[in-house]
Symmetry: C2
Subunit: 123 residues, 2 copies
Amino acid sequence: MSHQYTRETAAEGVENALKLLEGRWKLVILFHLFGGHVLRFSDLERAIPGISQKMLIQQLRQMEKDGIVRRIVHHQVPPKVEYCLTDWGQALCPALDALLTWAAQREGLDGGNQNVPSQDATI
Amino acid sequence: MSHQYTRETAAEGVENALKLLEGRWKLVILFHLFGGHVLRFSDLERAIPGISQKMLIQQLRQMEKDGIVRRIVHHQVPPKVEYCLTDWGQALCPALDALLTWAAQREGLDGGNQNVPSQDATI
DNA sequence: CTGCATCCGCATGGATACTG
DNA sequence: CAGTATCCATGCGGATGCAG
């Protein structure tokens, strides 16, 4: 399982991965679905204040197409559609946790140069 | 170092982290800087075909402001400016690797339902 | 209830030309 | 060499209205 990537393919790989997560609301949706939660369209709508239906369905559809989210249609009136994560979608957890860890490291390391944005090499 | 996040703060944290990585060229630049490489403006320009000066300087400036990239100015004629990663920027490596790992898992798990995008719960 | 269509404003990104 | 300034195209996201 050793990763042997060239600088370019690695950049492409991460860019592709990031592209799947891009979108104003995908992360929020994802976190509402983590842990095996199964939510209806209206549940998500209510759980995410400020999101429009268009955005909600758009982001859900994209993630469904990308294999991150599973869509379950119950043919009944009134309609009922539920959303949950695929196995692959659940597998995102560790990666996002790593990102979280990195973000948390901001205060702590970085060489103590938060207030020295530009170094000046003038002699 | 246990992460104890609520659903909301975690989403915010990751979103903030992702926001720092957003931008058409940031990842590409990052990967060219990983490994302690110190590159001049023109080096990056040459190394990344298709990028415009505007985009290059814009993305670099944002990452500098965010503490990911360090900018070193040599006051001389002709001008010479070098860019490298901060310690925190270098620390991004594991997180991006996790993302890479996740992306690689696409083929392999996900319950074998790549061809069944929408499940149908009709009785 | 769930989801699609349309229109609109704004931010992002790209091309080009110019400056210290 | 290392930017800055300007103009322009595109796309994203928001609001509203309609349909199955």
